[in-house]
Amino acid sequence: MAVSEAAGQYGIVMRRVRAASLLDPLFYVQVVVILFLCALIVYPAAILLGMSLRDEAGGLTLKWFAEAYGNARNLGAILNTLVIASGTAVAATIAGTFLAWAVVRTDMPGRRLVEMASVVPFISTPFIGALAWVLLASPGAGLLNQLWSYLGGPGVLLDIYSLGGMIFVESLYEMPFVFLMVAGALRSMDPTLEEASLSAGAGLWRTTTRVTLPLVLPAILGGALLVFVLAAEQFGVPAVLGTPARIRVLTTSIVESQASYPIRLGLGAALSVTLLAIALVGLWLQRRMLGRRSYTTIGGKGAQPRRFRLGRLRWAIFAACLAYLMLAVALPYAAIFLSSIRTIWTADFRWDQWTLENYRWVFFDYPITQRALVNSLFLAVVGASVTMLLCAVISFLSLRTRLPGRRALDYLSMVPMGFPGVVLAFGLLHAWIHPPVVLYGTIWILFAAYMTRYIPIGVRATSATLVQIHPELEESSLSSGANWFQTFKNVTLPLLKPGMLAGWILLFIAFSRELSASILLYSPRLEVLSVAIYDLLLGGEFRALSALAFLQIGMALAMLALAKWVSGLDRTPGERTGGRTP
């Protein structure tokens, strides 16, 4: 069974290699796509590097790096970035591994509820989470602090404007990545490995610490590194929580370098290169970790892993997991909702404080909202569509042809994963601000940035679907007399639809709330939703901001519901892959 399956897959791989090498016009399509990706990725990166190594007169210099690493302010930002990233990685990894273990390996009640942790990143961004936690735990007006004083507690209970606060919030929203990876590894682990330890006389506790954990360690470390990179790239959280406490990190410093006077772009570029290096090294290490993972996944055929019988502890562990959902979802979103429908932010709830005025004001009186909504929706709908189409073409070229250069294409399409949004924006901005092609000041610069950032996610969605489609379906179109374009349009695209739709929804959600690239690339009249929220934050308009944030959360939830409905639709058997595997 396993052998013939493997042979079947091998056959498909071979076919794929053989298929469609004949489509010569495709070579030119591929060249165009590669050039396009170079314009969006390689050229900006080169510009960035160039800027970091040149002085005002254009001569070669290392002074910007000297300033980045020599000046206490900048060095502080680098150190803070590393501290926050490491702290977040540690906290998120411990919590994520614990949750994954509890869900996969114990008989804890409510496991399906706790699984919902994996959707948390889709509901909102860490940026919105940070705003919510300001409402809950800012030293002055935070609801929890107010309650604390009301109960007679001394001083301030929580200060969210701190390194610890940032680590806390980022951990909440990045933990699900660890959770997903570790839960996946635990699920695919061969249960006989544990059974062997048990029958050797080791107890459950020893088996867990000596066998199970070491086996999923690559997944744990891989998750930790991913979170490290995500936290280092994070702009929203330090902008909300760090700025009031004068805690600077790399992302906020880069953005600042664009706005401060005298403008010192070289410094911004040097900081960007530094952040880029941190992210690339982190991702490279992560790849290596996950590359070693294979030995844990000796597919026990649907064998059920053994579950710990927790006894009375089960409720305690469930409570701990529930606490996570409270802190990441229930409390913050309730705070945002409450803040959006009240006239004043106090713990002292009175009937005359409820109002819809915040919504009215933010939609009709605040000039930016309507433009921002139009821009964000345009980018989300058109941007996600164009990006998915491009991703389908990239997947097709790299999986269904043998053209020279398809490896480069494959590689290029994955590179943006290592690009922090702020850094990408910095590069794109300076790459495309000069004539003859001026994208800055148009919506297309945002379009390009979003597209570039999310190409890896789109390509993964389309490639995963494409490998399930038998190549003979396309070959039979060719032998029917259709050219490659007709084949792509009539056969490949329709069959890719389910995967593309799922990818499109992901991109829609991401595009409709992008912040860290937008913050450098927007210009007056070209604001987007997150920028509008950010602008309100700078003005201290927390109630109006909550109204917009609530709208953003609502949009994401609606899209998630749509995704679920759509995935229910395409579950008709056979529709998806078509044909039969021989």
Binding site: R18, S21, L478, S480, G481, G579, R580
Partner: protein
């Protein structure tokens, strides 16, 4: 009249020589089969003809015109070849109805008026027996019906040649048998060359005017099915098409009537050969199991060998006997029952006209190597049926 020519076709995948300079031609209305074990290069040959692979050497010509020529680098892409191809996986598009699937070739090629398109699609659906299924989606069809959709789709474009890659291998035995005859009938009406790839020898023999037996990227033998069956040139062919007993020996000399005397462990046997044989040279004899008669009384005539019955299996139309002449195992198929208990003695009479010296197995080294393999194969032959029939 010759229509499709494959000339010294070579195709390499890295270091693997998948097709090694094979040549054959197919006449206008001829149905030809490529037959051979898994991995021998059948699919690769077909895909070169269809245009999914670029040959590394040789040429492919249709009606005297090249469609691919490695020497000049000429290559016509598959969508310009108008060859109807039926794939093993059917490759029926799941997002189109039966009608849309079949109409697709006409649509993409353009220039066919709507009414004519309808008529041609309806006509082909009638030929394959799918009237009434026009609006169904492939997921609502059985495997055999999907197979017919694929066939109708290949036919509708009025192809210049028909190519099949094991199109029946996913069907059950009964349906497969019916489809065989339908395919030949359709092809003979169209009068175009057809190349059919299969590893099922029965299928190849029933369907084709010519079978080409392939081994490791080369042609071992080709010819009419009767001829390939009756006069295999090599042990590989004799073994792959039908069953054979192999007996090694040395040529003793002519035996009159154009026959030859070969000295073997079974005694001196009178055999026939396609070519003259020098006395003293090594020879391998191939004897089909159904060409040996078993009798209780010693019959008169040449080539009579006393044997011991080891096992007997009743298979319905005939019985299978495993006998041994001394140390040499023989397999015999006969329809008339021979009532002897295992261990009993019988006489095997071998028809000299069907006791053949294999032309391709003459060299002493080959004979040496073969001797080892033959005993091995015979060993297996003794064991496998008892497993299969237990």
């Amino acid at each position: 009249m010759t229509s499709l020519i494959v000339d010294r076709l070579t195709k390499r995948y890295g270091s693997v020589l998948a097709v090694d300079g094979i040549s054959f031609s197919v006449e206008r209305d001829e149905f030809i089969s490529l037959l051979g074990p898994s991995g021998c290069g059948k699919t690769t040959t077909l895909r070169c003809i269809a245009g999914f692979e670029r040959p590394d050497g040789g040429a492919i010509l249709l009606n005297g015109e090249p469609v691919a020529d490695a020497a000049t680098g000429f290559f016509r892409p598959p969508n310009k070849r108008h060859f109807g191809m039926v794939f093993q996986s059917y490759a029926v598009w799941p997002h189109m109805t039966v009608k849309e699937n079949v109409a697709y070739p006409l649509k993409v090629q353009g220039g066919v008026p709507r009414a004519e398109m309808e008529a041609r699609v309806a006509d082909k659906l009638r030929i394959v027996g799918l009237v009434g299924y026009e609006e169904r989606f492939p997921t609502q069809l059985s495997g055999g019906q999907q197979q017919r959709v694929a066939l109708a789709r290949a036919l509708v474009m009025e192809p210049r040649a028909l190519l099949f890659d094991e199109p029946l291998s996913n069907l059950d035995a009964k349906l497969r048998e019916r489809m065989r005859f339908e395919l030949i009938e359709i092809q003979s009406k169209l009068g175009i060359p057809a190349v059919y790839v299969t590893h099922d020898q029965a299928e190849a023999m029933v369907m084709s005017r010519t079978v080409i037996v392939m081994e490791k990227g080369r042609i071992s033998q080709s010819g009419r099915p009767e001829e390939v069956y009756a006069r295999p040139k090599s042990r590989f062919v004799a073994d792959f098409i039908g069953l054979s007993n192999f007996v090694e020996g040395t040529v003793a000399g002519p035996a009159g009537d154009g026959n030859w005397l070969v000295r073997t462990p079974l005694g001196e046997l009178v055999c026939c050969s396609d070519e003259p044989l020098a006395p003293g040279r090594a020879a391998v004899l191939a004897i089909r199991p159904e060409c040996i008669r078993l009798q209780i009384e010693r019959p008169s005539g040449p080539n009579v060998v006393p044997v011991t019955l080891k096992q007997r299996y009743f298979l319905g139309p005939y019985s299978e006997y495993f006998v041994a002449a001394g140390e040499i195992p023989l397999r015999v198929q006969a329809s008339d029952p021979v009532e002897v208990a295992p261990g009993g003695t019988l006489f095997a009479a071998i028809d000299p006209e069907r006791c053949r010296v294999l032309a391709g197995e003459a060299s002493p080294e080959a004979a040496q190597e073969m001797a080892v393999r033959a005993t091995h194969a015979a060993d297996l032959a003794f064991r496998t049926p008892s497993v299969g029939l237990a």
